[in-house]
Symmetry: C2
Subunit: 305 residues, 2 copies
């Protein structure tokens, strides 16, 4: 087994993931929990990190590179933002040190788009992006990173030219839990997903995005009038949100731009189905792999061998 | 004071409104409460109605005409739906009697659009619509009835040709209470509304409806990057939802169709501002007046003098 070289951490709002990485780049150990920024802000960031490091017996002098919400204003140490347009490699240079630690701990900055009409921010996805494309990516790409607040990033020859956040995941939660549609979807998770309803909703929202909040309502009226199932209602809401997101994201993109999908698990499946339904070709990259690669690039830049 | 002729009731999901109407059409008394369908389904519809009638000393033989959710499947007595396309006057003919009452109590039907792709239903708004336009309304109209589930109805020469529900009001509640944007709007209700932010959001969502869930997110990123106030964040969310609704509704309408706005209070103000911002001309009718007029037309048809 290779000697450990550094520790990589993806510290989100509600999740914590840590990997012990060897000198040859292999993963020597992994530790996950739900101690995201929200929890750690209460219990202490240093304690959360320390407990995961102990669990993996990480050597005391091993440096730690972190991306994500640990660098937010409400996080551990504010790591600021790199303003776009910016080169992907600029992300590597903006890490801040966490003071008062026995080991070298750095947090990577986020990206900010200070446009007056379309202000936007990200923290964590910039590292995924770096890992997915590499610092010198060629050509024009629209990179989709689905999630609570899905990010679509426009990258041209290694430079981030702009990006947009879509509240897809969080709206799905709010709509299915806190509106009248909670009744329409009750029990949906106990059965198989309704792929036909999902694809129809993706197509409808993509074709007529202005009808989005009406399409949501058809999850209810479809049950009253056509016997739509709970799984069908859930698929309609999910498909409408994803179809709307893709329509919005591509309205900002050049025709025929390459799409890169950075996702894993259930979201990877949903977005692959949506893109295929719309006859949009794409390249998929595993989200976990991408964030580790981005953290590796940062570690290599900060602590060259 | 004129003798009472009938009792008119608008019985919604969460509100109950009753008027005692004189033989000359004047309002002799009014009683309101939050005993909508949800409450009445627990406490008993007959008891709720009885308590309001007693409060106004309504004579024992006075008939009662009701519109709204009291006629839903989960309501008092199911009043079914009239399928569109339908003439406005068809609404007048579909009332069902509530059995076992000492007085004549009737509930008006709703409207259903059994379209496979765009199923839709309404209960209560069909009576507002009838009151706003009269049973023989001429010309083509797009009638907007804002609310929890805003309705836009297309009417041509006295016939309802189609309609769409938009979840505008309910999504505003869900987004401002149950997403990360609840922090962005905290305290907004303590100060004046931000008309500039509202109008900008209406314009942005109307012009680019596909960006809706991104525009919501700018309520947060605008605070992080540009010092947007809580009132500004609230106005952005509200303006985005209303701009999106108008874009969707008019995408179904003929160019230059007349717009009739049936609303009152705060919603009237918001929708008037939105329509003016988009340079759309409209005629406004008070929602309370419209529903009473619709109920009066039904009472006249059922119990002609």
């Amino acid at each position: 087994m290779a000697d450990p070289a550094y520790v990589a951490v993806d510290w989100g709002t509600s999740s914590f993931r840590l990997w012990l990485i060897g000198k040859d780049g292999t993963i020597l150990g992994e530790s996950r929990s739900d101690e995201g920024m929200t929890t750690a802000a209460r219990t202490g960031f240093a304690d959360v990190l320390g407990s995961h490091l102990s669990k993996l017996d990480a050597p005391e002098n091993l440096p730690v590179i972190i991306c994500g919400m640990a660098g937010a204003k409400q996080g551990w140490v504010e790591a600021g933002y790199i303003d776009v347009p910016a080169s992907l490699s600029a992300i590597l240079t903006g890490a801040v040190s966490v003071p008062g630690q026995s080991r070298d701990v750095r947090i990577l900055p986020g990206l900010a788009q200070r446009d007056k009409e379309m202000p936007d921010v990200m923290r964590g996805e910039e590292t995924q992006l770096l890992g997915a494309l590499g610092p010198d990516g060629k050509g024009s790409q629209a990179v989709c990173m689905p999630g609570t607040h899905s990010k679509w990033v426009h990258v041209s020859d290694g430079s981030v030219t702009g990006f947009s956040s879509f509240m897809t995941g969080e709206l799905f939660e709010a709509i299915t839990k806190h509106t009248i549609l909670s009744h329409a979807v009750a029990g949906a998770d106990q059965g198989p997903a309704d792929a036909v309803a999902f694809e129809a909703a993706v197509r409808a929202a993509f074709a007529r995005p202005a009808m989005a909040t009406n399409l949501f309502f058809t999850a209810r009226s479809g049950q009253l009038l056509h016997g739509l199932t709970p799984a069908g209602a859930q698929a309609r809401i999910s498909g409408t949100l994803i179809g709307l997101e893709i329509a919005g994201a591509l309205s900002n993109a050049a025709n025929g731009v390459g799409i890169t999908l950075v996702a894993s698990g259930r979201l990877l499946g949903l977005y692959e189905t949506a893109l295929k339904t719309l006859s949009l070709s794409y390249t998929a990259i595993d989200a976990d792999t991408a964030v580790r690669r981005g953290l590796a690039a940062a570690a290599q830049a900060i602590w060259p061998n």
